[in-house]
């Protein structure tokens, strides 16, 4: 590039272009890097829980086996399917945004939101069963009839890991609702859809974490 050029004020032409970027493409690429970096922090955050789970499982394998028998595999499998389908609808929503299809985008965002709601609903059912049976985290554990000590530790992990994950699902729902509002308002187009793309990345990560949670908590014996 030869010579320098004066900085252009481009607030008027592109309503969503921030002043320190040349164009929407550069802005979208920067945001994508930012979102992947944030996703890595989520991987390490949950990763710590997986490491703790792994070590405790190794130290208390019998107690963890007994604990997992109390979990409802079918509900867990249903939730896995629900999240996978929601990832599909989210990916399709991003695609709709990229192709400028506003009606489909709105529909698919709403579908994703609905599936997320179902996930949380199933979790509510599961948690209610556990509370009813006295299978509560940590010092609130009230279940009688365990053959080995340490089943409480399993349930501590169960609640912390699925609880933190559930919070992330909730946060995702808030983000998708906000996207829905913006989509209805007509903010997105084939040249500007980065927020949909980035929220999609977050949502897929939430799905990925569950992909690991499900077998580790519900399936392995």
């Amino acid at each position: 590039m030869s010579g320098s050029h004066t900085v252009v004020e481009h607030g008027a032409q592109e309503p969503f272009l921030q002043h320190h970027f040349h164009d929407l493409g550069q802005q979208a690429e920067a945001s994508k890097i930012g979102m992947w970096l944030f996703l890595v922090t989520e991987i390490l955050l949950f990763g710590g829980l997986f490491v703790g789970y792994g070590i405790m499982r190794m130290l208390h394998s019998q107690a963890f086996h007994e604990g997992h028998l109390h979990l409802d595999r079918s509900l867990g499998a249903i939730n896995t399917v629900v999240l996978l389908v929601s990832s599909f609808t989210m990916a399709m929503a991003v695609h709709s945004a990229r192709t400028g299809n506003r009606e489909r985008l709105i529909l698919l965002l709403a579908a994703t939101l609905a599936f997320a709601g179902v996930f949380l609903g199933v979790k509510y059912v599961e948690y209610s069963h556990k509370f009813h049976d006295g299978l509560l985290p940590g010092r609130f554990y009230r279940h009688a009839g365990d053959s080995v000590p340490g089943v409480a530790v399993f349930f501590s992990f169960y609640f912390v890991m699925t609880g933190l994950h559930g919070l992330h699902v909730l946060a995702g729902m808030v983000a998708i609702s906000w996207l829905l509002r913006r989509a209805v308002r007509g903010d997105f187009s084939a040249t500007y859809y980065a927020p949909v793309d980035l929220t999609g990345l977050y949502w897929h990560l939430v799905d990925m974490i569950w992909i690991y949670l499900f077998p580790l908590l519900y399936l392995i014996s």
Partner: protein, 537 residues
Amino acid sequence: MTAASYLTEQRGLRSWLFTLDHKRIGVMYLWSTLLAFFLGGVLAMLIRLELLTPTRTLMDADTYNKVFTLHGAVMIFLFIIPSIPAALGNFVLPLLLGARDVAFPRLNLASYYLYVLGALMALASMITGGIDTGWTFYTPYSTSTGGAVNLVTLAVFVLGFSSIFTGVNFIATTHKLRAPGMSWFRMPLFVWGMYATAIIQILATPVLGITVLLLFLERVFGVGIFDPKLGGDPVLFQHFFWFYSHPAVYIMILPGMAIISEVIPVFSRRPIFGYRAIAFSSVAIAGVSFLVWGHHMFVSGQSVLASALFSFLTFLVAIPSAVKVFNWVATMYKGSIWLQAPMIYAIMFLLLFAIGGLTGLFLGSLATDVHLHDTYFVVAHFHYVMMGGVFIAFLAGLHYWWPKMFGRMYSERWSRIAAALVFVGFNTTFLAQFVMGSRGMPRRYYNYLPEFQPLHVVSTVGSWILALGLVITAGYLLASLRKRPDAPPNPWGGMTLEWQTSSPPPTHNFETVPVVDHGPYDFPPLEAEEELAGRRA
């Protein structure tokens, strides 16, 4: 005639509190972190006063535990980790890259407010019972003790996100907002240092987040992961804690080293020796820093095999740091040295960091660590690298960029007096601690054997000299702000982009987007710059 700048173009409290300008955010961070340093410093003075006598001097044992815990927590989380990246880095990084701002200005402001929130929570803990666990919060004591542990763990969680947001911003900015012509290997080395720091911030801080979250949940819900009575493993807490906290010390030192890499070439008027070696060493340090955390746990019950492995890896991480020290010294060789305040502090850094780094090797060796662990030797080691290293580098950077940030030159004469006091005071305080540590004086002890008193007295007197030097520093720097702006755009003759704009810069940084056609340390001959040569003479 005073030109408009980022300081004056908008006025009023709201224009500062809602700013998206990286320079203003940097300045707000600067005052906040310096305030935290002042608080941490007062606590340090109280510690040293208490240790003047072998028994009670001014406070009881419980209070003493709370004072040293708070000193550590405040200095580490509220000063050292944020200061260089968020205060100096925020201000200078976009300028160095020729950018108009960081990639995510709103995230930047959010980072600052999270810092303020975390700081307020941590300070509130002082009046809600305090914490006496040591800044390391080891279990099972931290899960069972009273006090404000819950509040402080949540504060640390919030502060962690502040740090993560800064890291995310710097990486994205470095990738996408470089000026035309600025290839990766034409970037100033400060940027490489901040980039490596950001990598650590992103990868390590979340583990701190989950650690304090689990600690909080253990206290509130009795989760059981760290408590042996419930089947947990207290050493697991240490693994979690140090997985972050060891790389954290590189979050502290890498920005300091980044400043030294800027200052030494300018004040030696020579290109940096081994640019790529320093750039790659920064990233190498970031990577290897994740492999050594177990060296904090040699006597905690960690297996001998793991300990031996960590010890070996610890020796490896010293290598890139040593490469940098050699390169900085080589840069000075046959250079035209200009002993202004930034350079005085940079040279001081070389000596103090070398001592701190080398003493780390004693601690990294299994056999010697058994004797030195939890003694004053460790305390002296980390103060040499964190204060003698990071803080001195921070002072170098502050003095280097002060004219750019505030448009004023400070008193060179007073800066030399202060630097001398800081140097003498610092070494008096902490050399004595190496000696008493190697003779068995334990750390965090309220009472001690009378035979250690002479060295404690020496150390305390040193702290007074150090404090005097720092008070004088604050004095002449603040005094400079009352002058009319008198700083030229490029007082030091630097070749990096921040010197191509006015001091202080306008809000949009550059009148025209700079195009880069030379490296950051390509100095033209001094003879061609009469005015600068005259000032340097």
